[in-house]
Structure formats: structure tokens, C-alpha cells
């Protein structure tokens, strides 16, 4: 029982660990929502990889005779304003979303982690790094992405960069706060007095503390990057329509919303399911790895 005083709690019989090691496989059976989310996400990943084999048509093949067809034998979900097969376009659209989501999460962590550790560890650098990050945080991410894309023509890489840059401050802040509290831990002080050099202290004793929150954070970044990509495409600042994305399919469908709402709903549903699955998995990871993250997770 940990209800007694901290002064009296750690007795010889107390075997309750104060801090569990990371457990990669859940001990309890995860809830059904998490299982459904995992299955959905797995399906989307498979669809993205196998799109060339699964798609019944070439997603770019126009057919002026078959404009805005209702769902039928040839076009399972109907066709768009250029006579392209909606189903094929939606299947291909998964590719961009996943690449942008995973890419942004990875890049922002790769850049943010070292910056955050440095900021948390060195006071001088802290002020500098955090001022820049505060400034970046103040710029609304979609507007920043729009600015970047409007300066440099939009392709997969510029869009990904534009989405990733505004995410970096969040990673830096998270890592910094974890490092700031971890460096007060006696075991970090012990490492210093054992003569360990700064790199060892940072890498072996501080960095591992950031992993659990980072895993959770990167799922949220992944979801929000997919969302931002869709918004950029939707606003016409994203990847050109020669590469189908869920966002630009919807953008093109806007004009025909009153006659053919499915042009917006199908990609919208896929997009929602994808983001929802990632968020649910992120929540599950958070509950599993670090329940204290509830607040940070919410500030996405």
C-alpha cells in the first residue's frame, strides 16, 4: 500500500515498484476499440501498399464520357468530374496520407529530440532554443505551411516539410520538460558523481525517459499531420491533383457537392477512420506507457 507516508513507505516488504519498466506487450487484453482501431489502420496500410494491384482503374485515367457516374459495375463508387474512378483515387490517396503522417512524425522527433535534450540540459542554449520555438508555436501551423508551400512549389517533400516544421516545437517542449524533471533525479546526479561524461548522462540516463512520451506524441503528430495535409490539399495549397490525395479529391468534389456528395464523403470517411484509429492507438499507448501524459496529449 502506498497510502502511508513517504517517509515510512519503502519498507523491506514493499515490493510494489514505484516505476515500471516499459512493457511492450500489454499484460491485460486491450479494449475492443483499440483492437478495431489497430485492424482499421492495418487495413489502410495494406491498401496503401497494394494500391496498384487493388485499384480497378488507373486513378489518373480520364474518361470524358463517364463524368460523375453513379456507383455501378464499372465504377464501384462512381466517377469524378473528369470521369476518373473514385475508388481507385481513394485507394491511392491512402499512400500520400500515410507517408506524410509517418514522415512528419519521424522527422519532427529526429529534429526535436536533440534540440529538446540540449535545451533541457544547458541553460544558455535553453533560452535561445525556446525563444525560437515560442515564435514558431505562435505561427498558426496551417498558415505557416501555406506560406511555405506558396513560396516553394508544392510537392510531397515541401508539403511534408511545411507540415513538420510547426510540429517541431511541440516535440522540443515535451522533451525539454521531461529532461528538466529527469535531471533532478538522484540517479542522474549519481551518474555525474560517478564520473560519467555529459554525453553518457544525456544518452543513457536522460534520453530513455523521453521515449514513452515521445511514442505517444508521435502518434498524435502523425494524426495531425495527416489532417493538415488534407486541409492543405482541400484549400488548394497541397500536392497537385496529378497525385490523388484524400484532401484534393475532396477539394475537387466541392463544386459538385450538391449533385454528388459522395465525392467528399468517401475520402472524408477514409480520412476520419485513419485519423481516428491513430488517435485511439495513441491514447492506448499513453494509458499504457505514461498515464501522466493525459494533459500533454490533449494539447495537440
Amino acid at each position: 500500500m502506498s497510502l502511508t507516508s513517504p517517509h515510512a513507505s519503502p519498507g523491506v516488504t514493499a515490493t510494489i515498484p514505484s516505476r515500471r519498466r516499459l512493457r511492450w506487450w500489454p499484460r491485460q487484453r486491450p479494449g475492443w476499440a483499440v483492437i478495431v482501431a489497430a485492424v482499421c489502420l492495418a487495413l489502410i496500410v495494406i491498401v496503401a501498399i497494394l494500391a496498384p494491384w487493388l485499384a480497378p482503374h488507373d486513378p489518373l485515367e480520364m474518361s470524358p464520357a463517364n463524368r460523375l457516374k453513379p456507383p455501378g459495375e464499372a465504377y464501384w463508387l462512381g466517377s469524378d468530374a473528369y470521369g476518373r474512378d473514385l475508388l481507385s483515387r481513394v485507394l491511392y490517396g491512402a499512400r500520400v496520407s500515410l507517408i506524410v503522417g509517418i514522415g512528419s512524425a519521424l522527422i519532427s522527433v529526429v529534429i526535436g529530440l536533440p534540440l529538446g535534450i540540449l535545451a533541457g540540459f544547458f541553460r544558455g542554449l535553453d533560452t535561445l532554443i525556446m525563444r525560437v520555438m515560442d515564435g514558431l508555436m505562435a505561427i498558426p501551423s496551417v498558415l505557416l505551411a501555406i506560406a511555405i508551400v506558396s513560396l516553394i512549389s508544392a510537392n510531397l517533400w515541401t508539403v511534408m516539410a511545411a507540415i513538420t516544421i510547426p510540429e517541431i516545437p511541440r516535440v522540443v517542449r515535451l522533451v525539454r520538460s521531461v529532461v528538466l524533471s529527469a535531471r533532478e533525479e538522484p540517479y542522474v546526479e549519481a551518474a555525474v558523481s560517478l564520473g560519467s561524461n555529459l554525453f553518457t548522462v544525456m544518452w543513457r540516463h536522460l534520453m530513455p525517459n523521453t521515449l514513452a512520451p515521445l511514442i505517444v506524441m508521435s502518434t498524435y503528430i502523425c494524426a495531425s499531420a495527416i489532417l493538415t495535409e488534407a486541409i492543405l490539399s482541400f484549400l488548394g495549397a497541397g500536392i497537385g491533383t496529378e497525385t490523388p490525395t484524400w484532401g484534393n479529391i475532396m477539394a475537387e468534389g466541392r463544386t459538385y457537392f450538391l449533385i454528388k456528395p459522395s465525392l467528399i464523403f468517401w475520402p472524408g470517411i477514409m480520412l476520419s477512420i485513419c485519423i481516428l484509429s491513430i488517435n485511439l492507438l495513441g491514447d492506448a499507448a499513453r494509458d499504457r506507457l505514461d498515464p501522466r501524459l493525459q494533459k500533454r496529449g490533449a494539447t495537440q
Binding site: A138, P140, K295
Partner: protein, 315 residues
């Protein structure tokens, strides 16, 4: 308290300088000739010269920054390439719809989300809690424009209760027409904000409900209602306010999309028009203004902590 407020206010200055510097460097450091980027592929040499002239691109870079910064401070955000009007004037024309919509949405979100979060935390682990959390995750995950189109489909097209698109200003058309046109957009704009605030309220309340002083309140014989509202909610207030502030960034994204979906002539619509026309001065002005508003809102929230928390007040 005075020193706290002063420190907070002064801390906002470097943030704005960083924002300005970033926006400035973005154009100058992007690959290629900034003038050509702005003018597009079809520009004639004369057009390029004119752009270089207006942006002062022929001067050394630090001078450019100081000149540009000086103009900003005087309220000169440059001239739109598309319409040749001053950017400030363009923004001023579009201000009212956006501000009225944003205010309506913020009020709506707080009124809906805070009670949701409080109840979820109180009935932690119950059905209500699960419903609130599910709604909140959905709010995060379904893209705003999808929500917007669903709302339009149901309430405007199928039921025909509300207009599909368009906007009426309070100042010109009165409150009735305004609200008829603003209900769907502000619902759309609120969803993500509601999700965010409800989630944070719940997490923060759960934290506070585990605190010692809550146990003290129970030991005094306080009723659940009293513990929840008199003791817990105020203590949970700081993180909730904080998320309202940081969530404002999401609100801006939402405004751009919402105004585009509902065809509302506000700042968001201006942004979309500027993207399509590659009107960089306008985009730049919009970024500076929204960042400034973001910083001001968060400053206001920081200062309000002083009212909320005596530990800050008596610093």
C-alpha cells in the same frame, strides 16, 4: 503581481520578433529569386523589377529587415499584388465576419465543453465518461470540412432549416440573419475546440480530484457538488485556460477552412484567395496578424492566472 505582469508582457516581445524574423527569412531564404517566386512563372522583367522595388529586395538583407520591421510597426503591411490595395485595408474589410464567428465559437465551446469534462471526471470510468471521451476523440479525428459538409447536408439540404452558404453581418443585417447564417459555421468551428477543452477539463479535474485538499474537503463533510465546483474546478482552471489559449491556433486553421466551406467573406477566405493568387504580401500580413493575436490571447490568459491564483498574485 505587477512584476509578474510586467515580466509576462515583456516576454511576449521577443516572441513577436522571432515571428517577424521567421516570416521575413522565409521569403528571403527560399530557393530562387523571391521576386520570381512572388510574381509566378509568367512574369515579365518589368513586373519583377516592380516587385523588387516594393519589397526593397535590392538592399542588404539586414537593412531590408529593419526597414520592413519599421514599416510593420507603423502599421504598413505592404501592398497586395493581386488588388494593389494595402494589406491592412484588405484585412480590415474582412475582420468582422471572422471575429464574430470566432467569438461565437469560443463561447459555445467553453459552455459545452467544460461541463462535459467536469461530468466525465466526476463519473470517471462510467458510461457518461466513455461517451464524452468518445465524442472528444471523434472531434479530434474527423476533419473540420467533413463535419461542415455533414452539417450542411443534414441541416441545410435535407431539413432545409438553415442556409447552405453565405454570411450576414451583425452590423449591417442585424442579429437574426447573422445567427441564422452563423449557426452551422460556428458549430463546425467548435467541434475540435470542444473536443480539446473537454479532454483537458477532464484530465485536469481528475488530477485535482486526487489532491490532498480534495480529501480534506471530503473529510469536512462537503457534498459532492461542493467538492466538485467550489474546490476542484477552480484549481483545475489554469490548465483549462491554457488549452483555450494554445487551442486558438487550431481555431485559426478552422476559420480558414470554415470560411472556405461556407463561403464567408472573412480573413480565412482572404487567405484562400491569397494562396490561389500566390499573393505573398497578403499571406505574410495574415501570418503576422494571427500570430500577434495568438500571442496577445496567450498573454491575456497568462495575466488572468494572477487573478485566479493567489500564489502568483503575491509573488
Amino acid at each position: 503581481m505587477f512584476s509578474y505582469c510586467l515580466r509576462r508582457t515583456l516576454a511576449a516581445v521577443p516572441v513577436m520578433v522571432v515571428v517577424a524574423l521567421f516570416v521575413f527569412l522565409l521569403l528571403r531564404l527560399s530557393p530562387g529569386d523571391p521576386a520570381a517566386i512572388i510574381a509566378g512563372d509568367m512574369a515579365t522583367p518589368e513586373q519583377l523589377d516592380r516587385i523588387r522595388e516594393t519589397l526593397g529586395l535590392n538592399q542588404p538583407i539586414y537593412l531590408q529587415f529593419f526597414n520592413w520591421g519599421g514599416e510593420l510597426l507603423r502599421g504598413d503591411f505592404g501592398t497586395s499584388l493581386m488588388s494593389n490595395l494595402p494589406v491592412t485595408q484588405l484585412m480590415a474589410q474582412r475582420l468582422e465576419p471572422t471575429v464574430s464567428l470566432a467569438l461565437l465559437s469560443i463561447v459555445l465551446s467553453v459552455v459545452v465543453a467544460v461541463p462535459m469534462g467536469v461530468i466525465a471526471a466526476w463519473k470517471h470510468g462510467s458510461l457518461i465518461d466513455n461517451v464524452v471521451m468518445s465524442v472528444s476523440v471523434l472531434g479530434f479525428s474527423v476533419p473540420v470540412f467533413v463535419i461542415g459538409y455533414i452539417l450542411i447536408k443534414i441541416f441545410a439540404i435535407d431539413l432545409g432549416w438553415l442556409p447552405v452558404q453565405g454570411f450576414k453581418r451583425v452590423s449591417e443585417d442585424g442579429f437574426g440573419p447573422f445567427i441564422r447564417h452563423a449557426i452551422l459555421p460556428s458549430l463546425m468551428l467548435s467541434t475540435i475546440y470542444i473536443a480539446l477543452i473537454a479532454r483537458m477539463t477532464r484530465a485536469s479535474m481528475l488530477d485535482v480530484l486526487g489532491e490532498d485538499f480534495v480529501r480534506t474537503a471530503h473529510a469536512k463533510g462537503a457534498s459532492e457538488k461542493r467538492v466538485l465546483f467550489k474546490h476542484a474546478l477552480r484549481n483545475a482552471g489554469v490548465p483549462i485556460l491554457e488549452v483555450i489559449g494554445t487551442g486558438f491556433a487550431l481555431m485559426i486553421t478552422g476559420v480558414v477552412v470554415t470560411e472556405s466551406v461556407f463561403n464567408i467573406p472573412g480573413l480565412g477566405r482572404l487567405t484562400v484567395d491569397a494562396i490561389l493568387a500566390r499573393d505573398y504580401p497578403v499571406i505574410q500580413g495574415l501570418i503576422l496578424v494571427t500570430s500577434g493575436v495568438y500571442v496577445l490571447i496567450n498573454l491575456a490568459i497568462d495575466l488572468s492566472y494572477a487573478l485566479l491564483d493567489p500564489r502568483i498574485r503575491y509573488q
